[in-house]
């Protein structure tokens, strides 16, 4: 049915009525074509390679973070051990100094200086402790530098 006839009181202008008729027919045709068009299903899932790359990257990051934490912890433990050894050495030295000071002034100096079994033992402990500290604190000579180090040693002894 023509829109002009249907909506007689509203549309007086025949040109407008004709245009609206064409517009209506056009929308109906477009809608019918769009409504009946074949539908395609698109797989919205992410491609597998992208997922795998993301997973691998995530693993690498996690492993890196874990390694960093372990390394940091190891460093701290090492420093704490060295500090403890140093503290122990200092304590021993202080005790020995205190022991020397507690000896009566009337005792002959030679007697104090004379190597008694106790003195010898204390001296040995001190030197062992200091050697341990030196060994722990100092860096080892890399294997690649060993021949050079030997050469230096030989030159020193000659």
């Amino acid at each position: 049915m023509n829109l002009r006839d249907k909506f007689a009181g509203e549309i007086e202008d025949p040109a407008v009525a004709e245009a609206l008729n064409n517009f209506k027919a056009s929308v109906h045709a477009w809608s019918e074509a769009a409504y009946n068009r074949p539908r395609t299903v698109v797989n919205a899932a992410r491609p597998g390679w992208r997922l795998a790359t993301g997973l691998a990257l995530g693993c690498v990051l996690a492993a890196g973070a874990a390694a960093g934490v372990v390394h940091e912890r190891h460093q701290r433990l090492e420093l704490a051990r060295i500090a403890a050894i140093k503290a122990a050495a200092q304590k021993t030295a202080q005790e020995r100094t205190a022991a020397r000071q507690s000896v009566p002034a009337s005792a002959p100096i030679e007697a104090a200086a004379r190597p008694t079994p106790a003195n010898t033992k204390a001296n040995k402990e001190d030197s062992d402790l200091l050697a341990t500290v030196d060994r722990d604190v100092s860096r080892e000579v890399p294997a690649a530098m060993e021949p050079l180090a030997q050469l230096v040693e030989e030159n020193g002894t000659n």
Binding site: E10, F23, S26
Partner: protein
């Protein structure tokens, strides 16, 4: 003893089945019209399909609340108009790019014409007119466009349009008059 036919009580399951059948027939008969209205409003085939789907999903959820005060078509149209309103509101905020990417060009929309008994010249003239009407429709406000499309594409009565849009009949008439004025001006080339 009076011989009478015993009235079988309707079980809840049977009532549900009846309602489902009724709703299925409503979907079948009204879906193309709802789709057409949304397509003309949004000029986007995918979006019109999505909103049509959503419209019937909402209708299905609320089917038991439908009391039949208006026709099913008017009730469905009201849902579709509200969905469309929500869409425009959201689009203004954040989804405007979607329409930019998917909206059909006006020329393309105007290409659709049924193959009537027209010669080439008449076809061309009709296409030109359709394009001009689209141009005017694009310039209408959301409410004017809805009223215009319901009246001149869906050929709904003023009372139905008023019910579907929640406006008074007077307001509907005013919107229609303004919309027609714009179309007229576009056709005369005075816009």
């Amino acid at each position: 003893m009076a011989a009478g036919t015993a009235v079988k009580p309707i079980t809840a399951e049977a009532a549900e089945e009846m309602a489902a059948r009724e709703f299925a027939s409503i979907v079948e008969s009204h879906r193309p019209q709802i789709f057409r209205f949304l397509l003309a409003s949004l000029q986007d085939v995918d979006l019109a399909e999505t909103l049509t789907q959503e419209c019937f999903l909402k209708a299905h959820r609320n089917w038991k609340h439908f009391r039949g005060d208006s026709s099913a078509m008017t009730w469905l149209m009201r849902i579709a108009i509200n969905l469309q309103k929500d869409y425009w509101r959201n689009r203004r905020m954040q989804f405007w790019r979607h329409t930019q990417a998917h909206a059909v060009e006006l020329d393309e929309a105007g290409e659709w014409l049924p193959n009537g008994e027209r010669n080439a010249e008449q076809q061309m003239l009709a296409r030109e007119q359709v394009a001009q009407v689209w141009k005017a429709v694009k310039r209408l406000s959301e409410r004017q466009r809805t009223v215009f499309l319901l009246r001149y594409v869906e050929e709904r009565e003023l009372s139905e349009i008023a019910q579907a849009t929640g406006l008074s009949e007077g307001t509907v008439k005013a919107h229609l008059s303004r919309a027609l004025g714009r179309v007229r001006a576009e056709l005369r080339g005075t816009l």
